[in-house]
């Protein structure tokens, strides 16, 4: 497979289709990250678009010293943080998430509706617990557990030491554990 960086170079040279190839490659994971950070499908989709647009506009600032995906995560995280600051997504979080889970479940095979119901209910609780974490912990949880990045990659994305990544993860796990054990505190 042609490496991302080749497409980045072509984009810098003015080929917009190369950048659209990068959008094709990365939009699912950027959407996943945005969803876990914003807990709302509409905001996540908007933030994904914004993040790619921002990445396109500032593509010349990519230094080719890190992987393109690392740089893109950084751009996306900045965009999501702006969303968290300015949007009222928290208020919309729960209803929107419930709706999207229900829509998703409707697509699955309906052989065992009970299991699906239980699973989606627990997913909803986990997502809500995540949405109550401080943004910095939300980011590391999402990058480590859902995007499956390694410590050093997360450290590079966030420009912080690996120890900071580990301690944020530990704190987040402990908080989530107690929240999930006492769901009425959600």
């Amino acid at each position: 497979m042609i490496p991302d960086e080749v497409y980045v170079q072509k984009t810098i040279e003015g080929d917009v289709e190369s950048f659209n190839e990068l959008v094709q490659r990365h939009h699912t994971r950027i959407y996943g990250l945005a969803y876990r950070m914003l807990s709302n499908p509409e905001d996540a989709a908007d933030a994904t678009q914004e993040a790619f647009l921002e990445a396109y506009k500032s593509i010349k600032s990519f230094q080719f010293q890190s992987k393109f995906s690392t740089w893109l995560y950084r751009v996306a995280i900045n965009t999501c943080q702006q969303y968290i600051r300015k949007s009222d997504s928290r208020a919309r979080t729960l209803s929107a998430y419930t709706r999207s889970v229900e829509e998703n479940d409707a697509q699955y095979d309906s052989d065992c509706p009970d299991r699906i119901l239980v699973k989606s209910e627990s997913d909803r609780m986990v997502q809500e617990a995540i949405s109550q974490l401080p943004p910095k912990q939300r980011i590391v949880v999402s990058l480590f557990y859902m995007q499956h990045l390694k410590y050093h990659e997360i450290a590079e994305v966030l420009d912080c030491p690996e120890g900071t990544v580990a301690s944020r993860l530990n704190t987040a796990i402990k908080t989530l554990k107690s929240k999930l054990q006492n769901p009425h505190h959600l």
Binding site: H27, T28, Y56, Y145, A166, I173, K177, L180
Partner: protein, 175 residues
């Protein structure tokens, strides 16, 4: 919960805790093997991590890719537009047309050129055109022909008509 348990639980970590020394780590491990309540705590943390890992991968809305690519392409074209061509691009967008930026730029240049010529003409040249002499008479009989007549003969005819009129006037006065 004894003091040891409290310390161990505080420092329990799934992710290597850089603040712990090797000795502390070894000490906690030994405690964990022996103490059931701390083991339970640790297992619950593992369970929480497993729950996080088992969250379903999220499918983006099916139109997200297309919408994003479209927006990037639009941004690319907008970037290729000269500043003076922006109003044209806006009009074309309203008409749901999306020609390449170079085309819009050329059209804009052409339009501004024509506008300049028009304004210059309006300002520096008199636009009230004199009635052309050779305009054919529209009420001319279809069989009539326009023929060239020497200027001298016209003058002679006019003079002749003039003297005839005078003599007529003279004769009516006499009557």
């Amino acid at each position: 919960m004894d003091l040891d348990c409290k310390r161990v639980i505080e420092n329990l970590s799934l992710h290597s805790n850089p603040d712990l020394s090797h000795e502390e780590r070894a000490e906690f491990k030994i405690h964990l093997v022996q103490c059931q309540s701390c083991q339970k705590e640790y297992e619950e943390m593992l369970h929480t991590a497993a729950v996080l890992e088992s969250l379903p991968a999220l499918d983006p809305p099916p139109d997200l890719l297309g919408r994003t690519q479209e927006r990037i392409t639009r941004e690319h074209r907008r970037h290729g537009l000269a500043f003076f061509a922006n109003p044209f691009a806006g009009i074309l967008r309203l008409l749901k047309l999306d020609p390449p930026p170079n085309f819009v730029n050329c059209t804009a240049v052409l339009f501004y050129l024509m506008l300049t010529v028009f304004l210059a003409k309006l300002t520096f040249f008199d636009t009230t055109e004199p009635t052309p002499v050779s305009t054919p008479n529209r009420s001319l009989h279809p069989d009539a022909q326009i023929v060239g007549v020497p200027l001298g003969s016209i003058k002679a005819t006019v003079q002749r008509i003039g003297t005839e009129e005078e003599s007529k006037e003279g004769s009516t006065k006499l009557e």
